[in-house]
């Protein structure tokens, strides 16, 4: 090969790197290890972690231990999917393209919206992208309103995204766990691009989402509703109460917890905003022989065409996670989503009632779905340790987020934690947890 190139060594090929910049030593990375050694090392490191394999997981806060049907792994582990590139070359990518088209369709069916893109990074950036989209649609760039009950990390992300811009981020406090509609009315005005609501909210509680959506519309702003997709087998789909943009963290849709990512950003909206959407969109069309086929659509919105005028900078998205969600939703169907939602909701209420009987308090009175803020009669950090030793993972403890809440809300969250119950949890497990925490 060197002869064909006309050089005498591989090093010669690197002569274009100025000599003073060449690294004259080995990187300090250590020696290579074999597949066999690596396997042993990683298994050993993995054993140093707790996880939902070693413990029964009731943790919440935007990532949940939901059940994943085996068919999801079966499909997503096919090399034809996971080693393919972004489907720019339509003829070589009909598999991915049709699957993403089906993903868009399923998300629309689940949320009740007109159109969904083919994924964003995760829940927090989806909220931010939705806010930017709302600013483009409304041409209002001065003010974004968000409820304090939206996930603090989503709000933090939005704040970071806005930090080098002029846009004001107004947070409406929610010291009673859900927002007071009057306080929202007080801040919505003609400069407001959007109102951002989470349903169920970060505390697990149900906001007056339909009413809030209406209030946004009245102010000429867009309503952005962040939902838990796993609630939509039971709770109203936001399309049915007029949400303009729906975003979601799609982790529950067949995606493992994996310490926080990769997850799945979902964004769906009203048809009329489609050309302002961020992210990839797949469309159906016909090919040169007149046959139906799928293709990347409306690419003129995207960074590789529009560059600094693009609707977002996103390029690499969460394709494989969207494939997982597609297979997941196909496997769940309408009844599976309803059953999972019911089981989660019933389990959560059962657990909360049992704990209340043992002296635990729930600071917020609003209806909740599968997750709830609870204050134990003992120190919350001791409770976490006690649970852990008894084989349970609980939390997060809410002092983790103290900076994210106003003083009044913080007071409510003192010595408390989130507990979430998914469809995976059995009554036996819940009873056992109550027992562990009572002892």
């Amino acid at each position: 090969m060197l002869d064909a190139i006309g050089v005498s060594s591989i090093d010669e090929l690197f002569n274009t790197i100025p000599e003073n910049f060449r690294l004259g030593r080995d990187l300090n990375l250590g020696d290579h290890v074999s597949e066999m050694e690596l396997t042993a090392q990683i298994q050993q490191l993995a054993r140093q972690n707790a996880s939902s394999s070693s413990h029964v997981c009731l943790m919440g806060g935007g990532a949940y231990d939901h059940f994943i049907p085996a068919v999801v792994d079966e499909i997503a582990s096919r090399g034809e999917y996971y080693t393919a590139y972004t489907p720019y070359q339509a003829e070589a990518s009909q598999g991915s393209l049709q699957t993403f088209f089906e993903f868009q369709s399923l998300i629309c069916a689940l949320t009740g919206m007109d159109v969904a893109n083919a994924s964003l990074y995760e829940g927090g950036t989806s909220v931010s992208e939705a806010a930017f989209m709302a600013m483009r649609v409304t041409r209002r760039h001065k003010k974004v309103v968000v409820l304090e009950s939206v996930h603090p990390e989503y709000r933090q992300t939005l704040q970071t995204y806005l930090q080098n811009l002029e846009t004001e981020l107004v947070v409406v406090p929610t010291p009673s766990g859900t927002v007071d509609l009057k306080q929202v009315a007080a801040v919505m005005d003609k400069e407001t691009a959007c109102l951002i609501v989470q349903q169920p909210n970060f505390f697990g509680s149900l906001e007056q989402a339909a009413e809030l959506t209406r209030m946004a519309k009245e102010a000429g702003a867009l309503s952005i509703v962040s939902v838990d997709p796993l609630s939509l087998g039971v709770l109203k789909r936001p399309g049915t109460y007029g949400a303009d943009i729906v975003v979601a963290e799609g982790q529950g849709l067949g995606i493992p917890l994996q310490f926080g990512g990769p997850f799945l950003g979902i964004l769906a909206c009203d048809e009329k905003y489609v050309r302002r959407m961020p992210g990839r969109l797949i469309g159906k069309t016909t090919d040169s022989k007149g046959e139906d086929c799928y293709v990347l659509n409306l690419q003129a919105r995207e960074q590789h065409i529009r560059r600094d005028k693009a609707t977002s900078n996103i390029c690499t998205n969460q394709g494989l996670m969207a494939i997982r969600a597609t297979v997941y939703l196909s496997s769940m169907g309408p009844k599976g989503m309803q059953e999972a939602g019911k089981r989660s909701c019933q389990g959560a209420h059962y657990l909360v009632n049992q704990l209340k009987a043992n002296g635990w308090k729930a600071p917020f009175a609003a209806p909740y779905f599968k997750e709830c803020v609870l204050t134990p009669p003992a120190s919350v950090s001791e409770v976490v340790t006690q649970a852990q030793e008894g084989g349970f993972l609980v939390g997060p403890v809410l002092d983790r987020f103290t900076d994210a809440f106003c003083e009044e809300t913080q007071e409510q969250l003192q010595n408390s934690l989130l507990l979430a119950v998914t469809e995976k949890r059995t009554l036996e497990e819940l009873d056992q947890l109550v027992g562990v925490l009572a002892s």
């Binding site: 085996a70 590139y85 996930h151």
Partner: protein, 504 residues
């Protein structure tokens, strides 16, 4: 093949995943008791109804319509479509890694945190830049995050720098990220080699200059010879140099962004360190920065300390003046793990060999095609090069796009075409280090065959063997069809099929 969607094959009553009801318990309330009716859905979501067998056959067959690294040579320039070791895919699924909740306590996450800490250290070493954040979700978010980090640094210093500059061959994400971060974008003029015109750059530099973003080696596959001088120029006006790490596969262990003047960079873990491409993602876009930028990095960073007994204890911390998070949770850990496995697997020597073999393969391929597909960058490249189909277009009416499409007929994925715009009829080829000489030989022979194909019409109208041929994108955009729905017509099957039509 059939383009019927899962909505078309849905049949009422078919099931795949089912959940049992909780056993009867006097203290169990119904959902209707637990939640007021105003919040409850009045009907089920109109999702398709399928048995697991329907799902498997549908998606397994769909998947085979793709070209992929596992099945085809994929010389897509700028994308580093290298082989993904199978062990790494499986290890990422190890119980105790894949099923950790992001809010677990540090105490219950020591194994994971150790891995992530070591990855931070390794990425700092490879970059020659001391501070690393693993947080960004992808390369583009890495860019955005680094630019916000720079903005916070300038703001903290009381400087008002509003402008980001980049060459015309820059990836689209560079200007898009800069714009999203609130910067004004300045693009340099076109250049067939992608190298920076020093004078033009100099003309743009002043105390408004925040960052110069450069991909090095550049998108043409050339190492910027003036990178030292460029960095100096930026630093002279108080600006920073950002290295787009998309092409790191060319220089691993050979030279380091921090050594040639970069102040900030991102990695594409799914390009350079074999996180698979996943049909578009997920990636991970860790960034590395100079020490004076470390305090502004996003949260969280993994830290290592020793307890009283001298044991290593890992934790998460927030840098003093952090810009905050740019996403929820720690980062795309599943992808970062694959990067970690890859670096452990290769070690220092193996990693250098990656770049050596990648550059050798690219140069060999270049040597085999340059006589009929001229390469403006010259006879030597780094890990990729950009050839031009202009002579073939002129002589035979065969465009870069035609060649790209015709390659599909021969079972080879197309190279990147028409990017960068600096080269007419650009064909950007990156063979990567994991392909063998025989694959490169076959590919070069195919290119030659196509360029000289007897009947050019066969090339114009290609591909002929793929499931579809040249979709009508204009039609797609004019009246977008962006989803399928359940057929309105009824179905003729029972409303609840027996257990056997489900998987379990």
């Amino acid at each position: 093949h059939s383009t019927r969607s899962i909505f078309d094959i849905s049949r009422s009553g078919r099931r795949s995943t089912r959940f049992p009801e909780h056993p009867a318990n006097p203290e169990m309330s119904s959902v209707e008791e637990a939640i007021p009716a105003e919040f409850l859905a009045e009907e089920m979501a109109p999702l398709p109804e399928l048995a697991e067998s329907d799902i498997v056959r549908h998606y397994v067959n769909l998947s085979t319509l793709n070209m992929s690294v596992d099945t085809h040579f994929y010389p897509l320039g700028s994308c580093t479509m290298k082989f993904n070791p199978k062990r790494h895919e499986r290890l990422a699924g190890t119980p105790g890694l894949i099923d950790m909740h992001p809010y677990q306590t540090a105490e219950t996450s020591q194994g994971m945190l150790k891995i992530l800490f070591e990855l931070q250290e390794m990425l700092a070493e490879i970059a020659g830049l001391p501070a690393v954040s693993l947080h960004p979700a992808a390369g583009a978010q890495g860019e955005f995050t680094a630019l916000l980090t720079a903005a916070a640094y300038f703001r903290d210093k009381g400087e008002n720098r509003t402008r980001v500059i980049f060459p015309s061959s820059a990836h689209g994400t560079n200007p898009a990220s800069a714009a999203l971060a609130g910067f004004e974008c300045v693009q340099l003029k076109k250049s067939a080699t992608g190298l920076v015109d020093i004078e033009e750059l100099q003309a743009h530099l002043d105390d408004q200059t925040a960052v110069f973003m450069i991909t090095n080696p550049n998108t043409i596959g050339m190492f910027e010879p003036e990178i030292g001088r460029i960095s100096q120029m930026l630093h002279d006006v108080g600006g920073l140099v950002y290295i787009d790490g998309a092409n790191m596969n060319a220089i691993l262990g050979k030279t380091r962004p921090g050594d040639f003047g970069g102040d900030m960079m991102h990695y594409n873990v799914h390009k350079t360190f074999t996180g698979p491409h996943g049909a578009g993602g997920p990636g991970a876009g860790p960034i590395a920065v100079r020490d004076f930028l470390a305090d502004y990095l996003p949260a969280p960073i993994v830290t290592k300390q020793r307890d009283e007994s001298g044991n290593e204890v890992y934790g998460l911390s927030r840098p003093a003046k952090s810009i905050g998070q740019v996403r929820s949770f720690f980062g795309n850990v599943g992808i970062l793990l694959r990067g970690y496995f890859y670096l452990k697997t290769l070690g220092a020597v193996g990693l250098r060999e990656v770049s050596e073999q990648a550059v050798l393969n690219a140069n060999y391929l270049l040597s085999q095609v340059k006589d009929f597909l001229p390469v403006p960058g010259g006879d030597v490249c780094m890990h990729e090069f950009v050839a031009s189909a202009s002579p073939v277009l002129k002589d035979r009416g065969i465009s870069a796009m035609d060649i790209a499409k015709r390659l599909l007929d021969y079972g080879v994925h197309a190279p990147t075409v028409y990017f960068p715009l600096d080269v007419p009829e650009a064909m950007m080829m990156e063979p990567t280090e994991t392909e063998s000489k025989s694959t490169l030989d076959r590919y070069a022979a195919l290119l030659r065959t196509i360029a000289t194909e007897e009947d050019p019409e066969m090339v114009h109208s290609a591909p002929h063997t793929t499931p579809v041929c040249r979709p009508d994108e204009v039609k797609a955009a004019r009246q977008p069809i962006l989803k399928a729905t359940l057929p309105a017509t009824g179905v003729d099957e029972p409303t609840e099929e027996p257990l056997v039509t489900r998987s379990v």
